[in-house]
Symmetry: C2
Subunit: 289 residues, 2 copies
Amino acid sequence: MVNERVLLTSLANLIGKETIADDCAILPLDGTLIVATTDMLHETTDFPAGMTDWQRGWMAVAATLSDIAAMGACPLIVLIAVGLDRPERLRPVMEGAVACCSAHGATLGGGDIDSHKELTLVTTGIGIVNADQVVRRKGSQDGDAICVTGILGGAQAALLGHHQYEPSLFEPHPRIAEGRTISCAGATSMMDISDGLALSLHDLAAVNEVGYAIYSDELPLIPELPPEEARELALFGGGDYELLFTISPDALPLPGLDEYRIGEVIREHRVLLDGKPLPSRGYQHRWRE
Amino acid sequence: MVNERVLLTSLANLIGKETIADDCAILPLDGTLIVATTDMLHETTDFPAGMTDWQRGWMAVAATLSDIAAMGACPLIVLIAVGLDRPERLRPVMEGAVACCSAHGATLGGGDIDSHKELTLVTTGIGIVNADQVVRRKGSQDGDAICVTGILGGAQAALLGHHQYEPSLFEPHPRIAEGRTISCAGATSMMDISDGLALSLHDLAAVNEVGYAIYSDELPLIPELPPEEARELALFGGGDYELLFTISPDALPLPGLDEYRIGEVIREHRVLLDGKPLPSRGYQHRWRE
């Protein structure tokens, strides 16, 4: 088995380790930073069963806007490339894409259309942020609080058949406004957790010299499931579009935001749950060799 | 049969007719325009047989940079989403993509990786241009000269088995430097002709109130083929990454550029070859219904 993260690491010498260490590419332009990110989603691997095409269009845009939110940036424009197995799918996909853009202050600026064996959506988002407000993955400080923006595990619960959580899975809301608030409050590092909380903490550890200690009692869990199961989903489930960030405890609570404080940044370079190593597993694309 | 252009037109009321009328989306930012474009290419439909994966990576970037060239813009950053059927294809694809970026002044800024049934490459390019230098499809003036930047039909000739033209097809060079020269010289309208010259002239006609008259004797043809065949390829062949532009005849010849003047903009809203209507056909993606 080879996985996406191993492949990405193998490219570090080709496109630069610094370049692949964030949710977005960053481009300075006169004191403003332009951030840009792209996401590929397609039917077999990425879209859960039971979604409508409208929801697929919405989700494809949400995935990209979430990466922009994770930099503390404002989205401006989204482009979408649509690979279509049947032409009549274009309209509902585009209507969902436009709706998600409109709901989050972005403009759908165009794209490309191609015939394809299976429905494939690739969205690219471009946003801007003042150079002194950008929040990157790198920057966590020993003693910072570790926070998330919402309840964890909903998307994975829906995948497992808990239908009441399908809105989390099918129509996720990228945390654009929350990302701006967190950025303005001086967060030291941030990323989205669409691959799951555990993997995301390990992603932060990969680009910071500090460590991350979280506590299972502090995790914002789904209330309707047994705590044991809910905790597993919160740690290792994928598909939640919440933000994970670190910030000085003095800055908490954040104005207008119901953040959940789940742990603290520690000097030792480890990722710990209740004092024990937290496994680096979660949602990943995999290829068979 | 439904084709890409009909689908695009059907979306005009959804994302705005103005928005889809250029090679790139345009985003104003303090006197500078940011331009952005995305292209989807995949194995079954878009990559000719006989290409290496390195060349597929190169071509995917070239397609996007060509759209940026067509606005008279400078490319800054390219993102690439790679859908892989086999993980070992990633490295040559990325090496080709990086090489094409480097050759044309752009940086490969990141992307996304996904497993996919067939190799699928989606590139997004972001560039900048001064607001007073951007060249759009709309703007042709009655009396302008119609020009192209190079010999036409090479890519299609290679597709038909003329191996000496394979570099045009397999490793096309986007006309970035030429686009800048044309923009600075005051061109009134421009686009790339990757779908073929005839279709591109009709694309210009769709957003301008003037018409376009070209002459078969003026077309820059492949010298090695019989003129009749070479002319057919020049008019209706796809895959050439030359630029088509209109400009006041007083501005010609352009410094440092071997442009070919193939006709003139006319008041009557028609597209003519040697005084007769030029059919609107060329390279298009098609779906069966």
